[in-house]
């Protein structure tokens, strides 16, 4: 039997270890800065500080789904496996932040609305997004063939991305209990600084998480390719 061709594998560019330490250091700093420097709100008291984890979690959840959309479309267009793996890595991280957003929102909702959960348009559309992301990940674990897995999950990823503008606009399109998005003009500077710093820290953290998961996925697939090639006769003992 002639040997199988050597699987070509270009390892993903490794992140410098210092980048990870810097990102986590920055994250700890921004969390401490926001919590310690923002005064209690006249209406919400200290409950306002949940904003520094809730809003950034929601933002990076949207950003992660944006990466899923990009990866899914690119995979369907070029059939590049790397795009599929990037989308999958991003969906995983996005699902975690989407779940976090829901839990943080519930913790905020209990003292402000008097209930942990209500079928409000914003909450419901966010829950739908979370379920789509969980479904995306579940689908990937059920389908063995990598190409079919990539195609099917890309379709689910695109559907999930379509839901993002619905989540974003839900507070404007429907009458909801959830407040309309704040903007830099509606927030006083002592709250805005902490929020912007945490938005930056969560964004960097998410990029780091996605890249590490992407690295792992690339190496897992490369190991599978090597094993398959070896099984097809690439080993000479």
């Amino acid at each position: 039997m002639s040997p199988a061709p050597t699987p070509s594998f270009e390892p993903p560019r490794p992140l410098h270890a210092a980048f990870g330490w810097l990102v986590f250091g920055f994250f700890i700093f921004t969390q401490a800065y926001a919590v310690l420097t923002s005064p209690a709100d006249a209406m919400m008291g200290h409950l306002q500080k949940i904003m520094y984890v809730h809003v950034p979690s929601a933002w990076v959840e949207f950003a992660a789904v944006g990466v899923v959309l990009f990866g899914s479309l690119y995979f369907l267009w070029k059939e590049d496996e790397r795009a599929d793996l990037l989308a999958a890595s991003s969906a995983e991280v996005g699902a975690v932040f989407c779940g976090l957003t829901l839990v943080q929102g519930m913790i905020w909702g209990r003292p402000t609305w008097g209930v942990w959960w209500t079928w409000d348009a914003r909450l419901t559309s966010t829950l739908v997004l979370f379920l789509i992301l969980v479904g995306y990940l579940a689908l990937r674990s059920f389908v063995e063939d990598p190409h079919r897995r990539g195609q099917w999950s890309a379709v689910v990823g695109i559907i999930g991305a379509i839901n993002v503008p619905i989540v974003w606009m839900s507070v404007k399109w429907w009458r909801t209990m959830h407040q309309i998005q704040s903007n830099p003009r509606s927030l006083s500077p002592e709250y805005l600084r902490g929020l912007l710093l945490n938005l930056a820290a969560f964004t960097l953290l998410t990029a780091w998480f996605i890249w590490r998961r992407y690295e792992a996925a690339r190496y897992e697939r490369a190991a599978e390719h090597v094993s398959q090639a070896a099984a097809l006769g690439g080993i000479d003992g």
């Binding site: 040997p3 199988a4 050597t6 699987p7 986590f24 969390q31 919590v35 209690a40 209406m43 919400m44 008291g45 200290h46 409950l47 500080k49 949940i50 984890v53 809730h54 979690s57 991280v93 975690v96 779940g99 976090l100 839990v103 943080q104 913790i107 905020w108 209990r110 003292p111 402000t112 953290l205 780091w208 998480f209 590490r212 998961r213 690295e215 792992a216 996925a217 690339r218 190496y219 897992e220 490369a222 190991a223 090597v226 094993s227 090639a229 070896a230 690439g234 080993i235 000479d236």
Partner: protein, 53 residues
């Protein structure tokens, strides 16, 4: 809440939200680092352990 009904300014809720966030992010960190290292080791093992033409 708007009428000052939240006891202690809702500190218990704030602590709960932050602790849950940090625990989840810590778990995600451990998962991301661990899976990347394991996958790299698996790949190295697969190459070393047998793919030679």
């Amino acid at each position: 809440m708007a009428n000052g009904m939240i006891e202690n300014g809702g500190i218990a809720y704030v602590v709960a939200a932050y602790v849950i966030t940090w625990v989840v992010l810590g778990a995600l960190l451990a998962h991301a680092v661990g899976s990347a290292r394991r996958a790299r080791a698996e790949y190295d093992q697969a190459v070393k352990g047998g793919y030679r033409t």
